[in-house]
Symmetry: C2
Subunit: 156 residues, 2 copies
DNA sequence: TCCTTATCAAGAATTATTCCAATTAAGGGA
DNA sequence: TCCCTTAATTGGAATAATTCTTGATAAGGA
């Protein structure tokens, strides 16, 4: 369920009455909530389409943008790969696994201001911070011996 | 001048003899060294073309990729904007100014270890860390009163 | 219920980047 | 120095993620 409009963050560019609740938006949002695996737009499209066959990819893009603008969804970009989406709104960093291409959310230990963590030059204004790691997720770091194989070659 | 091959980081996928020194690669590298303003591929193309009119955009892309693979250049991505390039190899974060679209390098003089700031689950392997901020650069944070105007509207 | 207006769907368009094939040139060896 | 092998360069075509366009549809307030 998409949170009601009154609870949404407001800004001058947002529609006065909040996000209009359409079946498509609900389905897209629920698809993101159902599996927190950072799907891209096509992934979301396929998941939603299995339940709502008439939905179009353009609509999925529209819904994802609307939800992102409303602050309900985060867009996650890595290099020039297709954007991926995440309904985890808590402050967290991302680990991009170079082996299996997964994204892991890494929660912040204790809320800290950027100025406390980084040695920032004076005079700048920081609105948002984004931290990304590259490496191996837990699964790829310690492959299951029973599976009989080392991590496969990284996706290039 | 591109550093000689012997000084380049080596890895199994790199050509044995290092990076072949072509006029185009030198020109692209020098364009990046000349102005540390994080140009994108088309910016670099235009700068180099003014001096070497025969160069093609495809070659600029090739050179940028070669230099990046050789570890001489860093690729900087922000959302889905065109990739930008940076010859500053010191460890630093980036500030993306939402007003003037500039990128500022922020040296991380006392970077905290990821484990101190992030709640890292056991078993993962971290190879690289990337920190990005969004906000206002020093110029846009404190506009020159003589210029007679507040920061203009952010590029959408 | 009706009306206004935002949203949807399908396909076309856009754009950053990569691919392709023919030509050119780097740089090691004779 | 000249030659030869091999990789790099070019220009144009191709690709792919995303956005745009237009007419049809539906949300939600009156």
């Amino acid at each position: 369920m998409i949170p009601p409009a009154e609870t949404l963050p407001k800004d001058s560019s947002a529609p006065k009455k909040g996000v209009r609740q359409t079946e498509q938006r609900k389905a897209v949002f629920e698809a993101l909530m159902a599996k927190a695996d950072h799907p891209n737009a096509v992934d979301v499209f396929m998941r939603v389409k299995s339940r709502m066959p008439s939905i179009s990819l353009a609509t999925v893009y529209n819904c994802l943008e609307t939800l992102t603008n409303a602050g309900l969804v985060r867009t996650v970009n890595h290099d020039r790969e297709p954007s991926r989406y995440c309904a985890n709104l808590t402050e967290h960093a991302h680990l991009f696994c170079t082996n299996c291409n997964s994204i892991t959310d890494l929660p912040l230990q204790n809320p800290m201001l950027p100025e406390q963590v980084w040695n920032l030059p004076p005079g700048i204004t920081i609105a948002r911070q984004e931290v990304a790691f590259q490496g191996l997720c837990a699964q790829c770091s310690t492959p299951d011996p029973a599976s009989g194989s080392a991590p496969s070659a990284p996706l290039s």
